[in-house]
Symmetry: C3
Subunit: 146 residues, 3 copies
């Protein structure tokens, strides 16, 4: 069993859903892991990680449309409003979509389905750069002991 951990600082992104599979994978070394797990964790309460369709950008736009109407910024009953109208709704979206992803590794590669990609949900208007802490572990491919 080996285990590695690495911080990743994402580039700043506008409000909406963004495909970050390549940006994340470029900073991991999965090549000697036969079978295991990648754990992605975002250290913020107003952005989220989820998994969805990696081909059509219109799916990501529809995600943003859906969440804007389902959890409207101007909800009259919110008490926590002093950080702006996008703050409390960002917290809710972060908990509904989640702060982490656990993804399988198989034969040195992330074992996603054909159409799956990693989404960053940026739920603030000006969220800035987001920090991930990535932990991954698994059994080692025979003959690849470091």
């Amino acid at each position: 069993m080996l285990l590695r951990q690495t911080p990743i600082l994402l580039s700043a992104k506008p409000r909406g859903f963004h495909l970050i599979t390549a940006e994340v994978l470029g900073q991991l070394d999965l090549s000697d892991i036969e079978a295991g797990i990648v754990h992605l964790f975002i250290q913020h309460t107003s952005a989220s990680l989820s998994l969805n369709e990696n081909a059509s950008a219109d799916v990501r736009r529809d995600f943003e449309r859906f969440f804007r109407q389902a959890i409207p910024d101007d909800s009259p009953y919110f008490e926590h409003t002093y950080e702006g109208p996008d703050d409390m709704t960002a917290h809710l979206k972060a908990s509904l979509l989640g702060s982490s992803l656990t993804l399988p590794i198989s034969q040195g590669r992330l074992a996603l389905g054909t159409w799956q990609g990693i989404y960053l949900g940026e739920h603030r208007e000006h969220g800035g750069r987001r920090r991930l802490l990535v932990t991954y572990w698994g059994s080692q491919i025979a003959g690849m002991n470091a």
Copy 2:
């Protein structure tokens, strides 16, 4: 520490929520794991995995009723419509409910609560057979070294 990984191909199921605990557990060997984790991962973007009540089938029917009214197939603002009215709503449900489950193993068995069972959320009208990739790991029960 031992770690195993196995693909599971579920039988095709109609749109709705389905209890799959037995179908999944029948394909895993947890018997020699003292303490650990089972990671279930679905390699699709229009079906989900979640955990809920395993006794009353009416709970699963109410799940389907709730999600049909909360995320209606005919939402007028969707842009991604060319795969049919159940496609974009299936993507949203998959991200809200999640693509993976992490469940504890204790003394050779899945350590769920009394009323907990594994749900497949089939969010398409004709989703077909769904692929899972299951990874599980943990400490070995003494005297059971293979």
Copy 3:
């Protein structure tokens, strides 16, 4: 690699969202883990675990307000009603928010972001004490072999 597992019985809490970071961490020993994961699992189908803002209690009150209006107890289409009006809505909230959390460990401590805390979502009026099963694993800090 070391792996530990421990049950935690939370104190009973009223319906709503509660910060339980200290109550959970007080029962774990992470001090000798260099890098790893804590897996928190709730063995119930009407309460949830999520991660969100740890500073302002008004965020937790807004969570409860949001979920009460998004999934109203008196939804007329529910079939599963014999356990009371808060039961079916509790099941839905539990699956939307989730039954587990996976959190990174770094240098002997939980590696949460500055503003992140662990929420128990108690979705029943009288949920009573809730059981967690906590499993954690990772690489050992050099020189701390037991």
